[in-house]
Symmetry: C3
Subunit: 664 residues, 3 copies
């Protein structure tokens, strides 16, 4: 979705304030150039403190004050955190999960399919939508927040799952066959015998349940969108705050929702992107999260949450906040919104600080925000709606993610480990990419598609990929790609299933590397990379280039990395796992084989490009390090922050954590 300007803002909670300072806050926001707040998504119990008793005092206060201050608003539905009275009314509204019964307290712990939950959620959404009708400065609505199934698997949800299975398998024998339930006496001959799925040792069944749970999220989005659509004006958009798999920060693709499916109900994708800071700031999560968010709706996105002072240990060095804000824009964001305006004085996230510290006064962070706000306003027309035209895509798959949880590769039980391994190597090489759904049917726009150990691929998808290569596309796949079908049933055929012709090799054995190292192409591996977790014993066909092999004398006859011309395209396969630095060098070799040019810049110098509304080329150069970097200007251009002319070929210096924006 295109916007008329860049948004810069913060989540705001008048209802959390230790004393009334709403007007003071609006005044401080204006001074800092903030033009957007997001409100209302967390505090159902404030809007409805008792069953059927509503109190929108804080809501109207915020809306009125922001209207007067000229600050736009996104209103969130408050359904991701339920009030205590609702749990008292329906005790089973709290999810029963694989880990047992949830207790009341934290958010996102309920069963989103519970009829009592849905009934009351609908009522508060409708009441809220009625309340906010009069305010013209509300630009959009956010459905819920970081919605997931919260692993609800109580009896009612499991009964829904059985109904879902029945529909897919009218003949229960097909169900038993597909899931291999004869194993360990797990056969179910009568749907009534279906046991508690939480105990299953059948990875296929567990994976299908996870898939079913993701479907609950998609349905929930549709349901909320339908309600909100009854109320919203045509100029008001619908968004959601999508989150990522979490490792103390936004690490990878979200496993518990199918964000591509869910995003269909939306106008614009929103995202919350959190990352490490100070010397551990790399920009990789900003880039990764942005590429995912942009790909969900194939267009510009909103960063609905990112860190101001952030969690303990994330306090940005001077300058880093600016670097981060413009990095979001460079990935295609039209909005950068902090979580949150002010630090909180009680409860869980007191040390997840906002722009303001607990004393609620101007501070170093606030003063840096002022510079960002001013630059955003000044450069809004030039930088908004950046259009990316990437020639590389990485293919994402929830099914494959689940597969790694059920069937780890060595110690790797998180598919995102592989995704980030490949993504980060590309990020270091300044290869910009889209993150496409494995259901994507139009692959022709890409020169290169990367398959990060896409374990679960249907025959149809495999054929699509074969055709893509045959027609001239390039493919890089890592180990265990195309190993099993959608239900994680391993294909009873040569591996990689259906792609042995495409990759020009096959294998049926694999092992732990022990002390085995990769050996081969001297350019790629000046030192032999030590393997870990997984190695496949690849048997190349004639005419397939062996890019690397194994130095273990007992496995020396097998290949480790292969490259093969197939039809008009080329397909490379990486059959093992090793360090990211070596992967970078390997990718460079493969791209050379493919005839795809690499940018010259390398991390920590990051280059991001796009086309603005006026068709101008916008190129960002970011220095993600604490040391100054010198680099060569690629074209006669104007640097937008300074307004200076930067002639092509000249060498310029990026200060530590500094950046340039070139327009030509």
């Amino acid at each position: 979705m295109k916007t008329e300007k860049l948004y810069y803002g913060a989540a705001y909670y008048d209802e959390y304030m230790p004393h009334d300072r709403l007007l003071k806050d609006m005044e401080m926001m204006k001074k800092a150039g903030l033009n957007l707040i997001r409100i209302a998504e967390s505090t159902w119990s404030t809007w409805e403190p008792e069953d059927g008793v509503f109190d929108f005092t804080h809501l109207h206060r915020m809306l009125k004050a922001s209207q007067e201050a000229g600050i736009s608003v996104i209103v969130g539905t408050p359904t991701y955190a339920i009030p205590a009275w609702l749990v008292r009314k329906y005790p089973d509204i709290l999810a029963l999960t694989h880990n047992g019964q949830e207790l009341y307290g934290r958010r996102q712990n309920m069963d989103i399919t519970h009829p009592g939950y849905l009934k009351h959620a609908e009522r508060i959404i409708r009441r809220l939508m009625e309340e906010v009708k009069p305010y013209p400065h509300i630009i959009g609505f956010q459905i819920d927040n970081e919605t997931k199934p919260y692993d609800a698997c109580g009896p009612r949800v499991q009964a829904m799952f059985v109904e879902y299975l029945k529909k897919q398998y009218p003949d229960i024998n097909d169900f038993n066959d597909e899931y291999g339930l004869n194993y360990w006496s797990n056969r179910v001959q009568n749907w009534d015998d279906m046991p508690d799925v939480r105990g299953t040792i059948n990875g296929s069944l567990a994976a299908e349940f996870a898939h079913f749970q993701r479907g609950l999220v998609t349905g929930f989005f549709r349901w909320q969108a339908d309600i909100i659509n009854e109320y919203r004006r045509p100029d008001q958009f619908l968004t959601h705050n999508f989150d990522y798999s979490w490792r103390g920060y936004s690490f990878g693709f979200q496993p518990d929702a199918n964000q591509y499916d869910a995003a269909e109900a939306l106008d614009v994708a929103g995202a919350d992107i959190y990352h490490l800071s100070e010397e551990r700031l790399t920009g990789a999560e900003i880039s990764f999260g942005g590429d995912v968010a942009r790909s969900l709706k194939k267009g510009n996105y909103f960063v609905l949450e990112t860190e101001a002072q952030g969690n303990h240990g994330w306090l940005a060095y001077p300058g880093q906040l600016r670097l981060q804000a413009f990095s979001h824009l460079a990935s295609g964001a039209n909005c950068v919104e902090y979580w949150h305006w002010h630090s909180i004085h009680n409860s869980l996230e007191s040390y997840w600080k906002g722009i303001l510290s607990h004393n609620l006064k101007e501070n170093a962070t606030y003063r840096e925000c002022m510079t960002i706000g001013a630059d955003f306003a000044r450069l809004s027309d030039t930088l908004k709606n950046l259009k990316k035209e990437n020639k590389i895509a990485m293919m994402m798959s929830n099914r494959s993610n689940t597969a790694f949880r059920q069937f780890p590769a060595g110690e790797i039980s998180d598919h995102n480990e592989i995704v980030r391994w490949l993504y980060d190597a590309c990020y270091h090489l300044n290869l910009e990419m889209d993150m496409i759904n494995d259901a994507e049917t139009d692959l022709s726009q890409y020169r290169l598609i990367i398959l990060p150990s896409l374990y679960a691929l249907s025959k149809e998808k495999i054929e699509r990929l074969n055709a893509y290569v045959k027609n001239g596309g390039c493919l890089i796949a890592s180990f265990r790609t195309a190993f099993a079908d959608t239900q994680l049933k391993i294909y009873a055929d040569d591996q990689p299933f259906g792609m042995t012709e495409c990759f020009g090799m096959t294998y049926d054995q694999f092992t732990l590397p022990g002390k085995t190292s990769l050996t081969g192409n001297a350019v790629a591996f000046p030192e032999k990379p030590r393997l870990s977790e997984w190695m496949e014993l690849l048997i190349p066909k004639e005419g397939t280039e062996v890019i690397a092999g194994y130095d273990n004398p007992f496995w020396k006859d097998y290949a480790a990395v292969t490259c093969h011309k197939y039809g008009a395209g080329m397909a490379a396969y990486i059959g093992c796992y090793f360090d990211g630095g070596s992967l970078e060098r390997l990718l460079a070799v493969l791209l050379e084989r493919f005839g795809i040019a690499l940018p010259e810049e390398r991390f920590p110098l990051i280059r991001k490009t796009g086309i603005n509304d006026d068709g101008e080329q916008i190129t960002y150069f970011f220095n993600y390090s604490g040391e100054a970097i010198r680099y060569e200007i690629p074209a006669d251009s104007t640097e937008l922050i300074s307004g200076e002319a930067f002639p092509a070929g000249e060498t310029k210096t990026l200060e530590p954590w500094g950046f340039h924006i070139l327009k030509w």
Copy 2:
């Protein structure tokens, strides 16, 4: 409480013995100089094997035999370990905790507020008190043992908690405001909606519940004391065996009871002090535990339990048992009692050995006890009732302890980590101190008060500390002091709240140090100490001395340690965390600024002093190492163990793990 002599003894359990050897044991005790046993506190099911069926055979056997042997007795009430029949009668007597339902088996797993428990506990206490009436050699009674709330939080306890809250907050809106319950929809508008507190993510509410639980202990003490007081003779004292936070040994201040409050029901504080041994013996726990115990009633205390052979791996080197016994006296103990006389042949603590091993014969440990018993008897009049007059105090706070559990500083989730960091540095510097309650109103007797990251301080306490400094006192506070109010609501003002004038600095930001080191005063930091966990960006006011700063170029403008003259006193603030050795050097610098003289001796040479009943100066020198130490005699004195005259200025040798006691 003063006593007429030093006590030396052991916990004794005739009821655990594999065969009758009571008279043999009494004889062996007498031979070793033991003059006290503690009995009866663990074996309710022996005294009352079935509901209402009493059997005091073992009790009378022990009392008669000890009476004949001239050995005094402390009788404990057996209420900390309940019989199986009581659980069968009231299954819900076993605590429901944050970790789920307790099973029968271990001690200290019940709900001490359960009416059935209290009814039966009262009956067994009254029956026991009746039984022991005839025995003149019972010198005192012990209430229960190491009493804590055992995290009972079943429905009835939670209902009590709601009643407790209602009384504090007649207007439920005040409750919501103080705890910030609007956050994440946690608002409770109707007390009946109050959810299970076990699930709360509100640190303030969780902390208040912990405070409420501690109050249950205080109430339990009063209740038991009232019963016992109906029976005891005026010459019989009331005590309790207080324990410490546990890390495999007695590590820090007990978080789960307010020992100052609980001790009000007692005549004399008792303590169980366990510590590492052999090369890991430092004496720090003996010193720390003793300073706490002495401070509870501001007088001499009883060591009711300490190790003989102890847990596996604690077997003392020859001489260490003597060193330990006299170290207890040097901290103000009037009694050293081992847990326990004999090793146990069954059950959990079979490898927590007593004086005697499982063969119940004289052994190396017993033979060393004989020497201690003889010395205690010989020096009793000189060494008993040692009076300590410390000029330094450390302030303790249960609330601040809970705060660190709810809001860790980096990885530090145990406030005692900070307490011991500061205490041990002082111990190494031979700075003796009292451990005062944060409710203490008379601070004027101290030259220096140390605030170990006292996170939760009321405005009243903050004012008291400001006044103390203004009137000439010295203060050392570590990071996060005065950060929040009593309910852990962070003060919405400049930090440290209410003390920016006193400390002459303020801050509103803090972070993880990463690779940042402390830099500054060369005397204190010959090498730059590497920081961890926490660093505050202190902004000193004019006139405030910056003792240390940060070497990180991005944080170089901030202070790390400050020292400030305020009124007639001085206040230093340590805004970060680093190693204990550097802290010692820093404290030495700060004491120099304050004009407080440091003893010349340093760990492993430990010096402890006091005044005896005759007004004589008693000075202990302990060698806490396996190497001999030479030191200078500070005054013309008599060494009490050897009886030799030690002239001032002469150099004497302390053998490995040896000690001297000087009187002048």
Copy 3:
């Protein structure tokens, strides 16, 4: 049990196959020389998909096809994995354990004493036995699979336990005395008061419950054997697939069943032996598991399961599969059967691969099996029924195993840690041994008996060991041997109880070694071995040789390892724990004292010997390393694989992972 030939085979599951390929499989098996399959033990729900509905299609298919192919069959009863409908019928059939309630899904999670389970198990066994009657090529039956009590401790099982205790202790006071229940108020004066044993902190009671649980397994074996015996032909044997304690591979003696008792119901012991591979292959588990299995019935045994490709990371190097197969024979196996023929395409063990990979085609593993099958067939008459006549035995004890779980020695909470410490040192020294039950009464056939920290020994067993030494036997015991009685009540006497005369030393104290090292015999300890976990302060009697002492100056007066002549024999005692390499050297010294000759070969060169049916001496030499080894031929002999004559004294080369079989 002797067999007429060597068996080579695999577990086979027609019911797991993704498509019909039964005849293809049989053909491939024949080609590879496989002459045995095991079937039917895992798939109750296939045989009885609904309550009382039977379907033996797959069974008859497999039996007919194997009959035609000339492949023998072992039929297993399918009772170790229950169908979902049975759990729906009897929800409490799933075990309630120390860790809570089992869910349906995995195998081996039921209460094997549940009447509903037994009723239905009996029905399926009887139906199966009826079905298989017509097939002459069924050579035997397997009872259940890896049977254990699965820690069932629900109310009914606990009631059985109380009945069991009542019978042993008609006077409940004796029960209280033996278990020391007065401790911590655990006394039970009325059997009705008996609390949930899962919560007990009484190690003796917990251990007795574990013993009781093991008894359930023995009873279960007798029960199943009685049923099967009604049906089986005289030529059909009864076996069981015994497993070992598990550390990701078969590590030690099974703690949860008394395999000696259970094996009484069988004709031949079976075993599943899994081990690490590639560079981590040592042969130790093959040797250990084989020695245990052979000792259960004192004769040849069946390896009913061992790895083909195995779990991830176990893929054998070329040649290793051969090495392993013949190593099994060298320990006395008459059968080597893989788990399993084909890899599985769904569920838990998809990555625990069989001979065939998921593509079900000939592969490298299959091709190596072909060579083994051919050699087995060719050498069957010479190598079958190998008779071992070991002069060394290690004594096993379930009670002592439980003791270490209840009372760890330092960090050692698994008794098998000690068992393998001693076993592996002997394995490295090529000392072959039997693994005898501690109930064994005839010890006279052994020159040396090793007691691996046999903590729990009855007075009767102690006397038997004393007599054995007095009569000329040699004994090596490690620390904590003879410490407690059968109920883990520590003996209230000098340690080692009843054996101080035999060992010529005593002790009553022990500690953690800290930095203490072993010092002494220079041959054994060229470098001082660092101790860990446990050290006893041994006090040798006059005439006892101190083989090693402690280098800690505070413990220097005590002995660490002693050796003593007692009657006509000798007894050595190792009072501490250290590395395995030093133990090897120590054992060599002790054997020299005993006058027992050591083989010259050392690991990785492994020598195994026995006598074949023709009374010929068969000697195997195995190279458990990736480097070639040269060794001297001990006698004029024929090498059976090559058929070459190997003259005595000649030096021959073993290839990496190679082996020779010498006959003379």
